[in-house]
Symmetry: C2
Subunit: 209 residues, 2 copies
DNA sequence: GACTGTGAAGCCATTCACAGCT
DNA sequence: AGCTGTGAATGGCTTCACAGTC
C-alpha cells in the first residue's frame, strides 16, 4: 500500500470489476482468478492485477481472490461503503432520466434535490423528489450535505450553475452539458459529452470508410 | 497526410475544437491561433497542433488558422459533412432523453427509429418518431440504412440487442447500459456508463478525503 | 501446478523546443 | 515578430515475464 497518483483508467476499471464481482457473489462463487475477472470484463489479467496492486495485496498466490472479500475491498476503495448525496441541476429530459435511473441507489448514491428555473417543471416530482427553483441551490446543498452536483442544464447556463455549486462548497461535479467548465483545482469535474461520443463513432465510420 | 492509428483522445478533442470553432464562426472571427483554441477548450497549444497534424497542415505560419476553413475541415474529418442515421433501442427514460436531445440534429445525426418491447410505450411518439416493437429491428435498420445503434435497454437485454444490431449490419454502437458487450472487430463500440462516472467521483471524494 | 505480485520492457500520448514560413 | 509544424524528449499506462507463494 503506497502510491500517490492512481490512473483514472484504473479507477474506472475498478468500478467495473466491482460490478462483476457483485454478480459472482450473487451466483455464490467463492473464489475468482485475475484471469476470470479479466475475461469477464474484457481486459488482460495483468491489467487486473496491476490495478489491484495500487491498493494492496488482495489475493492468495496459487489460489486467487476471495470474491466477497475483494468485492468489499473494492467498494471501500471506491468510497461506496458510504452514502453520497446528489443534487441535480436541470430537470429537463436528461436530468429526469438521471433522477429516475435506478442502479445508483443500491450503490450508495442518494438524490437529495432537483432544481430548475422552468416554472412548469417546478413543483413536479421525480421519484419522490420535488423539483424546486434554482435559487434554493445554496440552501439545499448545505442542509442535505450534498457531495456531488449533476449538471443537466443547457450549455449557456452551465458555467453559472457550476460557480454556484462550487460556491456552495461542492467538491465533485458530473457535467452533461457540452461546455468546457472552469472549476478550482480542489473540485473534481467529470464530463459526459453525448455529442462527442456520437462524433467519435461518426469519425470511425467515416475514416475506416 | 499519412498515419494509420489516430488516438481516440485526439478524435474526442477534434469534436470539441469543432464546436469551439463553430462558436467563433458565429462571432464572425476570421482567424484563430492554436493558443487561442487551446485556452478556449482547456488543453495545451502543442496538443492542438499535434492533433491537427495527424490529418494535414491547416494553418499558416506566423498567422494562424482560418476559422471557417479549419471548421469545415474538421467537420469533414469527423464525418459530419454527411448524415448518419440512428436507431434507438430502449425507449425508457434514457432512450427518450437521447431521442429528445436537440443538438445532434444540426450536427448531421438523424433518429430514424425507436424500438422497445414494452406494450405501453409502443405507439407513443418521441419528437415525431413512433416507438415500435423490437421485432422490427432488422427491417428498420435496413430500410432506413441505419448507421449507428444506440442501446438504452437494461443490462440483461443489452447483449441480445447488440447481437441483433450486428446481425442487421450496423457498424457503430453507442451503449448506455452497464454491461460489457461483445462485438466483432469491425464494429465500433462506445460505452457511456453513468455508474462508472459517478463512482470515479466517489473515489476521488473518498480518496483525497 | 496454479495463480498472484511486480520489476522491467514496451508502447502510446503529451509536452518541449526549435526550425521553417509569412 | 508571430505562429505553425514536427522531431526529440518525457511521462504514463499496459504488457511481459518470472520470482514468490500456496
Amino acid at each position: 500500500m503506497k502510491i500517490y497518483k492512481i490512473p483514472e483508467a484504473t479507477v474506472m476499471r475498478l468500478s467495473v470489476y466491482s460490478r462483476y464481482l457483485f454478480q459472482l457473489l450473487d451466483e455464490d462463487v467463492k473464489t475468482v482468478s485475475s484471469d476470470e475477472v479479466a475475461r469477464g470484463v474484457g481486459v488482460s489479467s495483468a491489467q487486473v492485477r496491476k490495478d489491484l496492486a495500487y491498493f494492496g495485496e488482495f489475493g492468495t498466490r496459487g489460489v486467487g481472490y476471495n470474491v466477497e472479500d475483494l468485492y468489499s475491498q473494492l467498494m471501500k476503495i471506491l468510497g461506496l461503503n458510504q452514502r453520497w448525496n446528489i443534487i441535480i441541476v436541470g430537470a429537463g429530459k436528461l436530468g429526469s432520466a438521471f433522477a429516475l435511473y435506478q442502479g445508483f441507489i443500491d450503490r450508495g448514491f442518494s438524490i437529495k434535490a432537483i432544481l430548475d428555473i422552468d416554472e412548469n417543471r417546478i413543483g413536479q416530482e421525480l421519484d419522490g423528489v420535488e423539483i424546486e427553483p434554482l435559487e434554493l441551490l445554496n440552501n439545499r446543498v448545505k442542509e442535505h450535505k450534498v457531495d456531488i452536483g449533476v449538471i443537466t442544464v443547457p450549455a449557456v447556463a452551465a458555467q453559472d450553475v457550476t460557480d454556484k455549486l462550487v460556491a456552495a462548497g461542492i467538491k465533485a461535479i458530473l457535467n452533461f452539458s457540452p461546455s468546457i467548465l472552469k472549476v478550482p483545482a480542489d473540485v473534481v469535474l467529470r464530463n459526459v459529452d453525448l455529442s462527442v461520443n456520437l462524433e467519435v463513432l461518426s469519425f470511425n465510420l467515416a475514416f475506416n470508410n
